[in-house]
Amino acid sequence: MSAALDDVARVVCNSRGLTFGEKIGEGAFKKTYLVWTLEGEPWALKVVREECSVERTAREVDAMKKCSHPSIARLLDVSSVLCDGREYTFMLEEYMAGGTLAERIQDNLLSPDEAWAIGLQLIGAIEHIASRELVHRDLKPANIMFRRVWSDPVVVDFGLVRDLSKESVTHTWLTRGPGTPYFAGPEQLNNDKGLIDWRADQFALGVVISVCTLGMHPYECAGDSDADVVNRVATRERPGAAFLTQSRAIGLPVLAQMVGVWPAERYRTPAMLMEAWRDQR
């Protein structure tokens, strides 16, 4: 019988001299808690579910250890704890007090200037991730958090990260690659591993900014369901006319190239993307 993750979190807190706060998030592979250090500093404690593979956790931890950037969540510690005779992996990360980008846009979309400023910092993050030969593969509003309320965006959750310097470990028979389909590029949706590189993150970031600013997916046509949109991306249709017009109108024309159908149509290097993004203001 496995222990409840809440109990595991309390065991971790007891063993580390931390004060248990509350549950703040839950995903398919992890549960996240707010905990406090003796000095009163808030940390995020992530307890990995038993069903999550050891490889997946190791990949996430390795990737986070490779990264050191102000717009990427800091991994403070990773270890395991025994609870009810079973071993649970846990991670301690910096706590993001500002909530997620998904929460930020629940009531109001980002203004073009806000989107530009957030985009600039997130491009810096994917530039750093790419320099480590990593691809995040799951950029989406829920995986972008703020250190303070609606400022200092930070990329979190490297659970689907791919290390390009290593052989792929995902199964070749998957018809859809890992990631959140709505934000994924064609190569990721088609599990076309040979084409996946940092430009897959560029595509996802382009979709994230479009959704958060224009309220639409770049490939969306009137009356489309989310599934229709994903299908348009997977079959390599072209971005919609409304998106192209509106992204230009709000002064963010770079978005159109970020969501190019083929990686070759997007910005070739992170530095080129950064320069083009800066030039919009």
Partner: protein, 382 residues
């Protein structure tokens, strides 16, 4: 925007000709020259301002005709016995190539590349990694590393193939691409498959738009297509009025008669034999550019004087001059490729109407229509 001279056997003499100074660079080949000879060529070019020397290590078919290649320090003695597709073998070769180029100091060096049995995604990824290794090896030198990209023209007929290749190759750490289009077309025959050409144009267009200038090597009159797609530069050699990049390009014909002299006629975008030149000229079909070509004038004098003088050498020069001249006019927007091909298409029809037929049955201008279709249709490709 520039023309490069694809150096071949004894072609360094052409570089000194006053009327062939329209080339902005040279692709140097180790097949016909020793390292000492190439060093001497590079030194002589160094005195020319803004002249770009690019060394192509020529390992496309390392087990076939090699000329002087085996005398070069980087050429491996194990080429016939080992698995030449292993990474370590190629990396060791790059290390030796870096040593050679550090001594030679050309302005650029193309990454080594072989013609594979299958042009798979893995092959292209491997070639990019190899070039990245060369980039790091040449980092402290003044010589820039160039990504060599060999593509199989028939593969490009497959929709999406060009964009897949571009998506892989644009990962290169090099800042430009040396494109070699491999085909099984016969010597003296133009590329004519519309779908293949559309793929090639899409590939060039895509690489250029991603910020990687493309130098198309081993070009012939098809240069106008590559320029239309945005290729920064194209290279040709004296034999490229006759041959294409096929394995046989490196082999002299084992049988066959005397080489023929050819005239490049811009109004038809075709290579003509002497009797064709005479008849087209009589019909008033020679272009102004051909008539103004200084070597063209010499050829016409030979023909007019009826001395029976062979003009093969002049034919090479006429082609080289025409290539650089046409490339320059396209680059300066003095000529529109669409219009050029449209006029050529019309000129072939006019010849047919006048019952003027060329000596070679297949030299009928049919490719011009295919080229026109290719440049019209490729922008809509996905």
């Amino acid at each position: 925007m520039a023309s490069y001279h694809q150096m071949g056997h004894h072609s360094e003499n052409l570089m000194r000709e006053p009327n062939l100074q329209g080339f902005a660079g040279a692709i140097l080949s180790p097949v016909n020259y020793s390292e000492e000879e190439i060093a001497s060529q590079i030194e002589s070019f160094r005195h020319r301002p803004y002249f770009d020397t690019v060394f192509d290590p020529q390992l496309y078919y390392p087990r076939s005709e090699r000329g002087k290649l085996p005398t070069w320090g980087y050429f491996p003695s194990s080429v016939d016995s080992l698995d030449i597709q292993s990474d370590s073998w190629w990396r060791a070769l790059v290390d030796r190539l870096v040593e050679s180029c550090t001594r030679l100091r050309p302005d650029g060096v193309c990454s080594p590349a072989f013609v594979p049995r299958s042009f798979s995604d893995g092959y292209f990824s491997g070639m990019v990694k190899l070039c990245d290794y060369l980039v790091s090896g040449m980092e402290i030198s003044q010589t820039r590393a160039i990504q060599t990209l060999l593509v199989n023209l028939p593969d490009l007929a497959d929709p999406g193939r060009a964009m897949r290749i571009a998506s892989i190759v644009t990962r290169t750490k090099a800042s430009s691409v040396y494109l070699v289009i491999v085909s099984n077309s016969e010597p003296r025959r133009e590329f004519w498959d519309v779908e293949e050409l559309k793929g090639a144009l899409k590939l060039i267009d895509s690489l250029e738009k991603s910020g990687l200038p493309v130098l198309v090597g081993f070009s012939s009159s098809d240069m106008v297509l590559w320029k239309f797609a945005g290729a920064a530069s194209c290279a040709t050699g004296k034999f490229f009025n006759l041959r294409r990049f096929t394995s046989s390009r490196f082999e002299e014909p084992s049988v066959g008669g005397t080489p023929m002299a050819y005239w490049f006629e811009e109004s038809l975008m075709a290579f003509l034999r002497e009797s064709d030149v005479i008849r087209v000229r009589q019909a008033g079909g020679l272009s102004e550019a051909s008539i103004k070509n200084p070597y063209g004038q010499e050829i016409l004098e030979c023909i007019d004087n009826a001395r029976g003088q062979a003009w093969i050498g002049l034919g090479w020069r006429q082609w080289m001059y025409a290539f650089a001249d046409l490339e320059k006019r396209i680059g300066h927007n003095a000529i529109d490729v669409g219009q050029l091909l449209r006029h050529a298409d019309e000129a072939w029809l006019a010849l047919d109407d006048a019952n003027i037929l060329t000596e070679e049955r297949q030299n009928n201008g049919a490719w011009v229509r295919a080229w026109r279709r290719a440049i019209i249709e490729y922008p809509a490709m996905r």
